[in-house]
């Protein structure tokens, strides 16, 4: 019984971690290469979730919804890049924080104008609504399995792209030492455009996939942004591998904090104290992890910039 619960929770944590990775990968590449801190990354996630929910309801096809969500979000990101991000490259981080915080305010209001202030229903694809018995005695929602598989596939594809292609080599060169990469003839600016759009596509994909299991609502981008930034910082800025390891770590720690610590507390402490402390551990676990990592490794686990 406990073993099965354990496995179920670990799978949930893994799924959450993979979604965080989709967000953090785009963030860390943009930050690693162009040194732009983009708080509006969560808004792209929100855009993906809303567009996917709308497209799914209208077309009835989940696959089509994902494609549409990614396309629309990439177009939005292109506009954002041309109109704003370009002007922020050479600016300090404070200006970037402010401008992209401004984008959050604008994005939230535009979404409210289009879809209204209340949460939108994102349907679970009909074919995936039932549970599947992975091993005897553990029925697991099939939709969550799709998220796991999807997240893993994308992570693998990204790993191949970054580590085993010429483009990936240039990306890594730009992230670890931009001036040197430019001297060697890498057009870092152009690579960045591609990376920014790729990051937007990944954020939209995460939003589209997460939509059916979280509430699709205004502000969902801000909620997921902070964990994604935590992943980026734990992993070390500019390192996709670091983002991957950190995302899984955060997913795991989050699960432990959410599922096992409350159980342990209930077993050892008086019920009311346990009920008070349980949720606290759940929420605080990943931040505590980040602070501990930073105390020992002030620039993250695998910082691309040594």
């Amino acid at each position: 019984m406990t073993g099965i619960l354990l496995l179920e929770q670990l799978l949930n944590g893994l799924g959450y971690g993979l979604m965080l990775f989709l967000l953090a990968a785009g963030l860390t590449l943009v930050f690693g290469i162009m040194d732009v801190l983009n708080l509006a990354h969560g808004s792209l996630f929100m855009a993906g979730a809303y567009v996917a929910a709308e497209a799914h309801t209208r077309t009835g096809s989940f696959a089509a919804a994902i494609v549409i969500a990614v396309l629309v979000t990439v177009i939005v990101a292109l506009l954002l890049e041309v109109l704003l991000m370009r002007r922020l490259y050479q600016r300090d981080h404070l200006a970037q924080v402010l401008a992209t915080f401004g984008v959050i305010l604008v994005a939230d209001d535009i979404v409210t104008m289009i879809w209204g202030p209340s949460p939108v229903m994102a349907p679970t694809p009909a074919a995936l609504s039932g549970p599947i018995e992975i091993i005897a005695g553990l029925p697991y929602p099939s939709y969550r399995l799709v998220i796991l598989a999807g997240g893993m596939l994308v992570a693998l594809a990204l790993w191949l792209l970054v580590n085993h292609t010429r483009i990936g080599m240039r990306v890594r060169a730009g992230a670890s030492d931009r001036p040197m990469a430019e001297l060697m003839g890498v057009r870092v600016g152009r690579i960045f455009n591609g990376i920014f759009l790729l990051g937007a596509a990944l954020a939209a994909l995460a939003g589209a996939l997460m939509g059916p299991i979280v509430a699709v609502q205004v502000g969902m981008g801000e909620q997921i942004l902070i964990p994604a930034l935590v992943v980026l910082v734990i992993g070390g800025i500019g390192s996709v591998r670091g983002a991957f390891v950190a995302a899984l770590l955060v997913g795991l720690v989050d699960t432990i904090g959410r599922a096992f610590v409350p159980m342990l507390l209930r077993a050892t402490l008086p019920p009311s104290t346990a009920a008070d402390l349980g949720p606290l551990f759940a929420e605080v676990a990943m931040y505590a992890l980040m602070v501990i990592v930073l105390i020992f490794r002030p620039s993250g686990l695998f910082s691309a910039r040594a």
């Binding site: 924080v97 209001d109 980040m290």
Partner: protein
């Protein structure tokens, strides 16, 4: 120089008198509602000034300042809950607890640089946020309604909005003046020296870490005091005060008012809250224009409104490359 100081003294005196007269004049103009609003602006201005102290003068881009405001407010909640009503105890306690927490946070955060500093301060603020959310005794997510306004002196009824307003005005003014003096002290100049060139200051023998830590704790303590005043004024405290977007908004205010400018924090707070109030009354979609304004400020007026009004003798900050959260973090 002398003359300029004299002019600013006169301007400050006029502002103070106008603010002091407001509760007397407001009822005549049918603006009683705004007594509470102006009081809130005063308190937020104090919080913004405390952030400007470490951000503008100290070069530390801290993205968790609302956490300390919340600690101050929740200190008041905790003490009121056990029946303490005297402002003489509540307000210093709020400042002390917030200052102590800020010192702890600073001890860890100041070891990191750049964006890691931003994120560490944010992480601590998030942890504090979730701590108060989990405090069910104090209302958790729903917040906590204070039994009454604190008591200060016999004969001084803080439950009266005008009286409370004047007390806040005096307290905020005194603290702002003290903070202003601090930036012109040896300590303040050392802080700005560290902001501009940390390596050189270290070479000159300044205890860089200790100076920054003290500044961080002072800013936290003043934010805590602001939190206590907010709690007293509203009679209600909720975790929303500590949400990270509130910390970001404080950063916004400081930049709009002018980083490292005297009175930059208060000016930014006044401008931002006034705009917010006006926009809220004219449209449901008031985030959009504020967001656009913010983008415009970040792109075209990074030194804030104060920079539009030229004053060459000001100590214009340029966040140095090695600054905490400075330009090339």
């Amino acid at each position: 120089m002398k003359q300029r100081d004299a002019t600013s003294t006169v301007v400050l005196a006029i502002v103070f008198v106008l603010l002091a007269a407001f509760p007397l004049v407001a009822p005549l103009l049918g603006l009683e509602f705004y007594i509470g609003f102006v009081r809130r602006v005063l308190v937020v201005a104090l919080a913004a000034a405390s952030l400007n102290f470490i951000l503008g003068f100290g070069g530390m881009v801290a993205l968790g300042h609302a956490g300390f405001i919340g600690i101050g407010a929740y200190t008041v909640v905790a003490l009121s809950d056990v029946g303490v009503m005297s402002a003489w105890l509540l307000w210093p306690a709020a400042a002390l607890v917030a200052g102590a927490v800020a010192a702890l946070v600073g001890t860890v955060a100041l070891r990191t640089r750049g964006v890691y500093f931003i994120m560490t301060t944010l992480a601590f603020a998030q942890m504090l946020y979730f701590v108060v959310v989990s405090l069910r005794r104090y209302g958790g997510d729903d917040g906590y309604t204070l039994p009454a306004r604190p008591t200060l002196l016999p004969g001084l009824d803080l439950a009266d909005d005008s009286t409370f307003y004047w007390v806040v005005l005096v307290l905020v003014s005194l603290t702002l003046l003290w903070l202003h003096r601090a930036t012109r002290s040896r300590f303040g100049y050392a802080l700005m020296g560290i902001r501009d060139n940390e390596t050189r200051m270290r070479a000159l023998g300044y205890p860089v870490f200790r100076l920054q830590l003290v500044a961080f704790a002072i800013a936290g303590a003043i934010a805590g005091l602001a939190g206590a005043l907010l709690a007293g004024g509203n009679g209600f405290v909720s975790p929303a005060t500590m949400h990270w977007t509130q910390s970001a908004t404080l950063l916004v205010m400081v930049v709009i008012g002018g980083l490292g400018r005297s009175w930059g924090g208060p000016v930014g707070a006044v401008v931002w809250l006034l705009l917010e109030e006006v926009l809220k009354q004219s449209t449901d979609h008031w985030h959009l224009p504020l967001g656009l304004l913010l983008i415009a400020v970040a792109l075209w007026a990074p030194k804030g409104l104060a920079a539009l009004y030229r004053r060459r003798n000001s100590l214009t900050p340029t966040l140095s490359p090695e600054g905490r959260g400075g330009s090339r973090i």
